[in-house]
């Protein structure tokens, strides 16, 4: 059956036209080709992908239901799955096709899954993790054998991380099960679209790269403070901007207010409700830790146009169109160009609309970042998302996944995984190590007779025979990183959401905090559930969720540096400049302005100790590497202890004693002749690799985290990844996962190449050491926002303990003295 007339009638009835890129995509799909479509949200890319296989199947089967599962639609967020399913179903209904489309995610009940497994729908919408779980089930080979097309939605969200690697492996499996399978990806704009396509399709496969409708123009504005001279360079959360934000909210029917962290979202929601109690019913909060039911209610009310404003995080970055949204606000640094464009795109979905985002800076330097984002967007400098390679933790998980399902044949699987971009360079030795890891518990431990994760049978097929291990493995599938999470419930019943266990652990019953837009009081903790009750008093205590912080993207950091270079020459014509003036003048008066020709170094002494600030403007990741390297080189010669903090502009080394700086400044410390060797030693001397090991341990199945409420039955096998790292480092020297942690640190954390380039640039600059009497505008954000500090020390344990104990003693004495004074007064 030819669907073309039906499609034309449908489009005509809705007064739409078939877009050229949609026709191109359909034709390519019908010709049996694969590819990547990049187009903004709401531009018709779903239909461009969906109607290709639908036409092919109708040509084959007419209107009758094609047997078996034919289209698999993978979406990175569970929240998007339901909406996607509705979209696919609507198209089928409009074309008169009565084919079932179903949903499968972690939320799908046992009974529904079993039914789907017995009788496959024509199309299934699912997540990468659920796909892995399906591949870990018996009968997967048969289930996927008739697959015609696999669609990966929002591929740009997946490609840069380990979820992307996991999906590459699953796609390779699907291609082996269903020869001739077409793969189609959908992506927002990226700096490396062609590579994104190649990674999706696997090396050596030719595919299409189809550009969707030209994106709407994006306007990036900044909410400039009315009195520039009073704009805080050391401000907090930009609540000074509250009045102006409220004015902006008054102008639009519906606004999305994005923040960068869940904590900020809670605080902004509380501030808005406090300032406008009359809006309380139309102000909502949306972030990833809230209970799914709550989130869905808010999404429904937003879609219905009932909400004036939703304060949200990246939880609303993707997918679903909310047509009533007229305005998008971004609080705090945009962090990345692509991300800001994506958020801007959440407004003005109507055809011909302009996407506009109003950025609300929370301190003065964010004005620079906003201007830099506008500049980069104008020049088309969009971030690339670099695909990961050789993530052996993900490979180990995948091998066990397949062994849990229909079994895996090692030789065939080696060839199969080498057909992915991630493992194209996998060596035999690495593969053997992974096999040993899952079949014998690692090469160093042939002595475990009872190690039976994957058992290779007489037929040469590896299987997981122990049902308990299979169950544990299925629970652990997934590569999204997170801390152990605790459920939060009302004392009187009902779920509120989830919070990192580490936050709850710091609270005592009776402590209050902001959560889900309410002030709640911790009542008690039982079996990994925190019970709370509503409280009246105000509080500013907010859970600090892990993972909410993100570094400025490289593209944006480069753009910031370029802007700084233009400021002194008066070539910067951004509207933000007049506001920045006073702050820059202060920086110049107290210290000096950074410039491309000079490396600015500041030393300051405070009650905390001796601070050394260095500003290379190379982005947070490089700064982390530089800070570690410098600390290590400084303390190599003389015992010292440093606390390291970094941000996107520079880094800080704090020490209790004056740092042993060479008389000639930093030059002697910036050499790169022993760089690689020094970095490797740094990694061993610092906490970085141990930290990096966290995800690796979980993904590879070395630590078991379970999920909220599941911990009780698995208490016997709880160990922190840090402890695991120490044990492996000590008892299994050649462990490739430990090595992978070091490699990941070197390649992605420390960005070795960029670090070498930065060192070279710093050596070429003239070092200027300033000694301001107090923290400068550049130094303050580093000091105030110490996020993830790292300690490096070459002092002995006893010295450090005695010093810290002495500090605590002095602090206690001062408190006691203050109390005594207060009592006398």
């Amino acid at each position: 059956m030819d669907l073309t007339p039906a499609i034309d009638r449908w489009f005509a009835a809705e007064a739409r036209e078939v877009l050229p890129f949609q026709r191109t995509a359909w034709a390519a799909s019908l010709a049996g080709r694969s590819g990547l479509i990049h187009a903004p949200t709401g531009s018709g890319k779903t239909l461009a992908t969906w109607l290709g296989p639908v036409q092919a199947l109708a040509a084959e089967h007419g209107a009758s239901r094609p047997p078996g599962l034919r289209v698999l639609w993978i979406t990175p967020l569970r929240a998007l799955a339901a909406d996607t399913r509705r979209g696919l179903e609507a198209a089928l209904a409009a074309l008169g096709l009565d084919w079932p489309v179903e949903l499968r995610s972690g939320d799908t009940g046992q009974a529904a899954r079993a039914r789907q497994w017995r009788s496959a729908p024509t199309a299934l919408v699912t997540t990468p993790e659920s796909l892995s779980v399906m591949l870990s089930s018996k009968g997967a080979a048969e289930y996927f054998a008739r697959l015609h097309t696999v669609v990966v939605d929002e591929w740009h969200e997946l490609i840069g991380g380990k979820r992307g690697v996991q999906l590459e492996l699953c796609l390779a499996r699907l291609r082996a099960l269903a020869p001739g399978l077409r793969t189609w990806g959908l992506s927002a704009t990226l700096g490396n679209l062609a590579q994104a396509r190649d990674v999706l399709l696997g090396p050596g496969v030719e595919g299409e790269l189809i550009e969707g409708r030209v994106p709407r123009p994006v306007v990036i504005d900044a909410l400039l403070p009315q009195d520039p001279s009073r704009f805080p360079w050391a401000g907090h959360l930009g609540e000074a901007q509250l009045g102006a934000v409220i004015e902006a909210l008054e102008t639009a029917r519906s606004t999305l207010l994005f923040t960068n962290t869940r904590s900020q979202a809670e605080l902004w929601h509380a501030a808005l409700v406090g300032a406008r109690p009359d809006w309380a019913d139309t102000l909502a909060l949306h972030h990833g830790s809230l209970d799914r039911g709550l989130r869905e209610q808010i999404e429904a009310r937003l879609a219905a146009g009932e909400l004036r404003c939703v304060v949200c995080t990246s939880s609303l970055d993707l997918g679903v169109d909310f047509h009533p949204v007229e305005q998008v606000l971004q609080v705090g640094s945009p962090k990345g160009v692509a991300r800001l464009l994506q958020r801007a795109g959440r407004s003005g979905h109507r055809p011909g609309g302009v996407s506009r985002v109003l950025c609300v800076p929370t301190h003065a330097f964010e004005l620079v970042e906003i201007a830099a984002a506008r500049r980069a967007a104008g020049l088309g400098e969009i971030e690339a998302r670099v695909p990961l390679t050789l993530s052996l933790d993900v490979l180990a998980q995948h091998v066990v996944t397949l062994a849990t399902g229909d079994g895996m044949q090692p030789e065939a699987l080696f060839e199969e995984v080498r057909r992915t971009h991630a493992f194209a360079e996998l060596t035999r030795e690495q593969w053997q190590w992974v096999l040993d890891f899952v079949t014998r518990g690692g090469p160093a431990l042939a002595a475990y007779p009872q190690f039976r994760k994957v058992v290779i049978g007489n037929d040469g097929i590896g299987r997981v025979e122990d049902t308990r291990i299979a169950r544990l493995h299925r629970m652990g599938i997934g590569t999204i990183s997170s801390d152990p999470m605790m459920q939060v419930k009302w004392l009187r019943g009902g779920r509120v959401g989830t919070i990192e266990e580490s936050f709850i652990a710091r609270l005592s019953p009776g402590d209050r905090f902001l959560f889900a837009g309410r002030v709640v009081e911790l009542a008690r903790v039982r079996d990994m559930v925190a019970y709370v009750r509503a409280a009246k008093a105000r509080t500013r205590i907010v859970p600090r969720w892990q993972g909410g912080r993100m570094p400025l993207s490289t593209a944006l950091a480069d753009s910031v540096l370029a802007l700084f270079g233009e400021i002194p020459a008066g070539r910067l014509e951004a509207p933000e400049l007049p506001v920045l003036g006073p702050m820059l003048a202060l920086q110049a008066r107290w210290s000096r302005l950074p410039s491309p020709q000079e490396l600015l170094v500041e030393t300051v002494q405070t009650r905390e100790g001796h601070h050394l600030f260095v500003y290379p403007f190379a982005g947070r990741l490089v700064h982390e590497g530089l800070a570690t390297l410098l600390a290590w080189r400084l303390m190599r010669d003389a015992p010292a202890t440093f606390t390291l903090s970094v941000n996107d502009y520079g880094f800080e080394l704090l020490s209790p004693a004056p740092p042993p700086l060479p008389a000639d400044g930093l030059d002697g410390l910036l050499g790169d002749d022993t760089l690689l060797a020094d970095l490797l030693e740094c990694i061993n001397a610092s906490e970085i690799a141990r930290r990096q090991f966290r995800d690796i341990a979980r993904i590879s199945g070395l630590v078991f985290q379970g999920y909220p409420g599941a911990q009780k039955s698995t208490r016997q096998i709880q160990a922190s990844s840090g402890l695991m790292f120490d044990v492996l480092t000590r008892y299994d020297e050649g462990n490739l996962l430990v090595e992978q942690a070091r490699r990941e640190v070197l390649e992605s954390q420390l960005e070795f190449r960029r670090l070498a380039d930065t060192l070279a640039r710093m050596r070429a600059q003239r070092t200027v050491v300033c000694r301001p009497v107090r923290l400068t505008p550049l130094a303050f954000p580093l000091w105030a926002e110490r996020l993830q500090t790292q300690i490096m020390s070459s002092e002995d344990w006893r010295t450090r303990v005695l010093r810290m104990a002495g500090e605590l003693e002095r602090a206690a004495d001062e408190t006691a003295a203050a109390k005594a004074r207060a009592a006398h007064a």
Binding site: F437, G441, L445, Q450, T643, P656, I717, V727, V801, A805
Partner: protein, 225 residues
């Protein structure tokens, strides 16, 4: 006094807090440890988690060194000598047997902790003298879980106490501690494959931090955290 140890006088009895995460009671020629968790890596392996062998053997060696160096005639484990049945295989029991054979004059006593299931006690009955909770000797009561016993000073384990020293943004350290509360001393976990529970000391508590080669009393606990 052994190097790095800290002396504690309790009701006239002299105890030494040893950096090996042990208490020495010289008057009774006794070494006391808590939470050894032998066989923990084996339990993980039995669940398909590839932890290398090594920690248990190391811990046995360290126990031997402790007992030998201080001429103890008794080693008392305050519970959780073993981690779980699936991790205690013949090789591990053989190692314990060899440990005993090398020290014919040393008794190995253990209070049954929550991890020492009856099955494990039965399998190791010839190697370990299993004792009930509240073992009494002179003024002391030896238990697995911390608590208060009338007319006795309690020595216990179970919670793996750890303390965090320092402040955000400055130097910080996390270390196992001896945790002294009124009427009770809680020992740090002895096992090298054990985690810790970060405690929040009450004002009347005292902590003794354990470093690589010394035990140091930590004062001013009210200022912690």
């Amino acid at each position: 006094m052994p190097e790095g140890a800290h002396e504690l006088l309790l009701d006239g009895e002299r105890l030494l807090l040893h950096p090996a995460r042990a208490v020495l009671w010289p008057a009774a020629a006794m070494a006391i440890v808590a939470d050894v968790h032998l066989g923990k890596e084996g339990v993980f392996a039995a669940h398909g988690m590839a932890v290398p062998r090594g920690p248990s053997r190391d811990d046995l060696t360290r126990l031997g060194e402790l007992v030998d160096a201080h001429a103890c005639t008794r080693l008392l484990v305050l519970g959780d000598l073993f981690h779980g049945a699936s991790g205690v295989d013949d090789a591990l029991l053989d190692a314990v047997t060899a440990w005993r054979a090398a020290r014919p004059g040393v008794r190995l006593l253990a209070i049954a902790g929550n991890h020492d299931r009856p099955e494990l006690q039965a399998r190791s009955a010839g190697l370990v003298e299993w004792c009930r909770d509240d073992l009494r000797e002179r003024g002391f009561a030896f238990r697995h879980e911390p608590g208060v016993v009338p007319d006795a000073f309690v020595l216990a384990g179970h919670v793996h106490p750890v303390c965090r020293l320092g402040t955000v943004g400055r130097d910080r350290l996390r270390m196992p501690v001896f945790w002294q509360r009124p009427g009770c001393l809680v020992l740090p976990a002895f096992g090298s494959f054990t985690g810790g529970w970060t405690l929040r000391p009450a004002p009347e508590d005292r902590l003794y931090g354990v470093g690589p080669d010394a035990v140091i009393p930590l004062k001013m606990l009210g200022a912690l955290q």
